[in-house]
């Protein structure tokens, strides 16, 4: 850029290039000399600088305060990255359904574990500030169930909404990367409900958004009641019910309630 050397003043562009340290050493020297001599240009330079200062302050304070929180998106990203890493390695532990049976269990119940792949999805409510987690991250929460018999499950009382120990809740939040400040937005819930043999295990727990308005905890409860009823009436296999709820409970709801939208209760 040609820096004027006669009586004329520096342009805003030249002043800004100087402020932003974008001039060549030679031009910067000339501008510096001119500013030393010229009150007008120096004042203008200060005006530009203070406008920048004001703009930065407003951006930082005003806008940041209005942005929706990042916790849900962060958890989503972590889950997706984990899936990417997994799919890039030779071993695909979570691809498709996989049952692992452990031998050596005594008593009425066998011992087992269910790992199911679940679809990852999210839903945003048009006015909600937080991103809603409606379906858990399948790698963090694949679902885990006891290999309990139908009879054992159905003779137990309906243990829905069983409390999750606080320490375990904390572990779930940590795994999902949800900071303490954002935890009020979520409730740690069983993916496969204990009423259907779901295990008290971190792999069966996920942070469900409390502010979800469509696919919320109440809707999931309705699905669980329906599935338990079907299982205990002998109309649905227990394992199948566990798999479906773990794979994608929303899809399961749509299937068993024959609807695309949750029914009001």
């Amino acid at each position: 850029m040609k820096i004027m050397h006669d009586d004329s003043h520096l342009s805003d562009q030249q002043l800004l290039l100087n402020l932003d340290n974008e001039l060549s050493a030679q031009d910067a020297k000339r501008v510096h000399e001119h500013l030393g001599e010229c009150w007008k240009c120096r004042t203008r330079s200060q005006e530009l600088e203070s406008t920048i200062g004001e703009f930065v302050r407003i951006e930082e304070r005003d806008l940041a305060a209005k942005l929706p929180p990042a916790a849900g998106q962060r958890a989503l990203l972590k889950g997706r990255l984990a899936q990417l890493s997994t799919s890039e390695s030779a071993f695909h532990p979570l691809h498709g359904f996989r049952w692992v049976l452990a031998a050596g269990a005594a008593g009425l119940l066998g011992l087992g574990l269910l790992i199911v792949r679940s679809a990852m999805d999210r839903q945003t409510h048009s006015h909600a500030r937080a991103v809603i987690i409606s379906v858990p991250d399948s790698r963090l929460t694949p679902g885990a169930a006891l290999l309990a018999s139908r009879q054992a499950v159905c003779t137990e009382a309906n243990t829905k909404n069983k409390a999750v120990p606080v320490a375990l809740q904390r572990k779930v939040f940590d795994a999902y990367g949800i900071a303490s400040a954002g935890r009020g937005e979520y409730e740690v819930d069983y993916l496969i409900t204990p009423a259907l043999g779901g295990a008290d295990d971190i792999h069966n727990l996920w942070p469900q958004s409390s502010s979800a308005t469509v696919w919320n905890a109440e809707v999931k409860d309705a699905l669980e009641d329906r599935l338990r009823e079907m299982v205990c009436d002998g109309n649905l296999d227990l394992r199948e019910a566990q798999q479906e709820i773990a794979a994608n409970w929303i899809a399961a709801y749509k299937k068993y309630f024959h609807t695309d939208q949750p029914q009001s209760r």
Binding site: E54, L77, L81, L84, A105, L113, V131
Partner: protein
């Protein structure tokens, strides 16, 4: 998780899975750290595009998934900030093009986070001086390209990075910035 046979929750394969989760890949950690650093800035920048909040969030997800691939493929790690904004910008253009083709998409829906409230409540009025509100209004009234130049510069991008992202010459970038700042300066004098 301890293998306690009385709890009937098992375990061996789960332990392996949970350990894998506990030690995410280095690139994963780096990407999440960069997400933490840039998410708000990117969101703000994308809202300036007129993208909705959900659209902007999806663009941001795409940016960081691409970044993960970029790092995995051993691509250059210097100036990741420039890379992140460049990719976000391009993805946002694509998405906006798609939205416009799909008509009826409320392209200004994200503006709720940017708009200057004409009648802020008294508490807010204390915080925001008149001149700051004028300044913000002047910023939002700038031509889109000028607004982007300024937004990128505010994210500490150098002129050549801005020129590359917005496909402008260096001279055009400095002219745009000077013009915008002159307008903002006038507005806050009012």
């Amino acid at each position: 998780m301890p293998a306690d046979p009385t709890t009937l929750t098992v375990i061996a394969p789960l332990v392996a899975a949970s350990q894998a989760n506990a030690e995410p890949h280095e690139a994963e950690q780096q990407v999440v750290a960069l997400f933490d650093q840039f998410r708000d800035r990117l969101l703000r920048y994308l809202l300036c595009f007129g993208l909705t909040v959900p659209d902007s969030e999806e663009v941001i997800q795409e940016v960081f998934l691409s970044l993960f691939q970029h790092l995995q493929n051993g691509r250059p790690r210097n100036n990741l900030r420039g890379w992140i904004f460049r990719v976000a910008h391009n993805l946002a253009l694509k998405r906006r093009g798609r939205n416009r083709r799909n008509l009826e998409t409320p392209v200004e829906a994200g503006a709720e986070y940017l708009a200057v409230d004409p009648a802020p409540d008294p508490e807010e009025q204390l915080v925001h001086s008149q001149s700051q509100r004028h300044l913000m209004a002047a910023f939002l009234a700038l031509p889109e390209r000028d607004r982007r130049c300024l937004a990128l510069r505010a994210e500490s991008l150098r002129y050549r990075e801005i020129a590359r992202i917005l496909d402008m010459s260096l001279g055009a970038v400095s002219l745009s910035l000077a013009r915008s700042l002159a307008r903002l300066a006038r507005s806050s004098e009012r």
